[in-house]
Amino acid sequence: MAWFRKEKKPLKPEDRRDLPGDVFEKCGACGEILYREKLAENLHVCLSCGHHFRIAAPDYVGILCDDGSFEEYDADLESGDPLGFADSKPYPERIQAAVKKTGRKEAVLAGMGTIDGVEVSLAVMDFRFVGGSMGSVVGEKIARAARRAEERNVPLIVVSASGGARMQEGIFSLMQMSKTSAVLGRLHEAGIPYISILTDPTTGGVTASFAMLGDVNLAEPGALIGFAGPRVIEETIRQELPEGFQRAEFLLEHGMVDRVVDRRELRATVAGLLHHMVD
């Protein structure tokens, strides 16, 4: 799995990711110094404390799909600039910077593949691309992945990682919540399974639309999952949030996800569920 992108926990992975000769990585949770090669072999789960490092969209394809089975779709979809939005930087420049950083055109990687022999439509979000924010392209790619599942009568799997709506697309980004949920409404009626996998972090408009709508919702250990961000909540209620608030285990306890699944068990768990739900 030489194509694995190696990532660090600190907030600016782009600064260090590709440093040559960087053979060690420090765990952001327990501070343990880890061999990068060993860490990658362990699917970027800390060998000491089990902390799940954030990983890129292609990594999840590698983890979930049968070797060589994945075929990417809609790779050419790119963001427009419907509002002509500019803050400190024009929106198209932000997109270009993200394209350069990730080598991808948008924050979703979608396609068809098999998981333990079961054909699925798969879409994976990439938090490195403008914080996995949902603009028109993210919405469209998720919608198309759902439609492929509908047309071919195969299960849909979505792996989410997102800071929420992409403000630079204004009302269009909000409407992607409606769009993705509406397509899932049809999928639901067609009796097609949908498994949603929530990874760190999944917040805002993505949580409040397709990420929470799985027949089965799975979450990675420790993943931050919520609607409002913790800082916004703290500012609103003017008190500190309890330990573990909005973490995957908290959501399990409150009935919002079905299971918290270790990344090393993810493929087997999804495969097991699929065999229960289809054929």
Binding site: L77, M167, K179, I233
Partner: protein, 330 residues
């Protein structure tokens, strides 16, 4: 609202209103006939109101949309509908008073009307959480929509919220799941659903009752993915740049119509809806009656097919090296 000039653009209006009041007092005391001068001043006042509200800047639109004297959902329900019977509770946890709903008649026909409800004073706002719903509010709304579907009645939603409530209980009880489920289920409803943005439609909290066959907006209402303050705090690193954010977000009714997201802008009386609640409600009533009549022509399958097509076309993107992508839905 004479005498309570909260906003700069209302200062001149308040000044003339004062002159009229003074003139009246003087005339009454001295027994003089000032009808000519009064008529002149009133003409000036009307013109000024029209002018002031025609060219509001985006941030002024935001202020008008949040005007504390603006009619709220229950004010519209009282005036544009009859025979309102409010229904309470989500049957799961509690009754969230930030969302109101129930049976009512619109032009004589039974409909389910649901709206976010702000409070008029501090006491009521504490009860209604400033119009910021918890998950229970969205679940109550969905319960009422399903009831409407059961009896083949259309649903009208009135949107006016600063957003879903960002608090501990809200997250614990699944605010994201509640909104998401409403979106999915509203897309499937077999009866017509129409929304009217009457004030501020902020983010997912507004959208949670907003996936509808038609989206109407009052002239001075706003609809946005994030508040201008929130957007400025994130992108400009200071809420003081909210005017820039308000402009950049394209959140006015005119913008939304142009962008193809709003289907119709409902004109407000001169001086804004807060200047004449009855006239504003009459305009909403007229638009709703007309829209529901149009939707009556469609059977449930066609209604849903069109609703899905409408939302699936939303957004703009570029596909491939040359091909230009889809435009917005209409």
């Amino acid at each position: 609202m004479a005498g309570s000039s909260r906003f700069e653009f209302e200062r001149d209006i308040a000044e003339i209103q004062n002159q009229i009041d003074r003139l009246r007092t003087v005339a009454d005391e001295g027994g003089l006939d000032v009808s000519e001068q009064l008529a002149e001043l009133r003409g000036k006042l009307d013109a000024l109101k029209e002018d002031a509200y025609r060219d509001l800047t985006p941030i002024e639109q935001v202020q008008v949309a949040r005007h504390p004297q603006r009619p709220y959902s229950l004010d519209y329900i009282e005036r544009a509908f009859t025979d309102f019977v409010e229904l309470h509770g989500d049957r799961l946890y509690r009754d969230d008073e930030a969302i109101v709903g129930g049976w009512a008649r619109l032009d004589g026909r039974p409909v389910m009307v649901i709206g976010q409800q702000k409070g008029r004073d501090m006491k009521e706002n504490l009860r209604r959480n400033f119009g910021m719903p918890h998950p229970e509010g969205y679940r109550k709304a969905l319960r009422l929509m399903r009831m409407a579907e059961k009896f083949g009645r259309p649903v009208v939603t009135l949107i006016d919220t600063p957003g879903a409530y960002p608090g501990i209980g809200s997250e614990e009880r699944g605010i994201a799941e509640a909104i998401a489920t409403n979106l999915r289920e509203m897309s499937r409803l077999r009866v017509p659903v129409v929304s009217v943005v009457i004030g501020e439609g902020m983010s997912g909290g507004a959208l949670g009752i907003g996936l509808t066959d038609r989206i109407l907006m009052l002239e001075h209402a706003i609809y946005s993915v994030i508040s201008p303050e929130g957007c400025a705090a994130i992108l400009w690193r200071s809420a003081e740049h909210k005017d820039k954010a308000a402009t950049a977000l394209r959140l006015t009714s005119r913008d939304l119509l142009q962008l193809g997201v709003a289907d119709e802008v409902v004109p407000e009386p001169a001086g804004g809806a807060h200047a004449d609640w009855d006239a504003a409600a009459a305009a909403v009533r007229e638009a709703l009656v007309r829209t529901l009549t149009e939707l009556d022509a469609l059977d449930a399958d066609e209604l849903r097919r069109r609703r899905w097509a409408k939302y699936e076309a939303m957004g703009t993107w570029i596909e491939g090296p040359t091909e230009s992508g889809a435009a917005t839905a209409s």
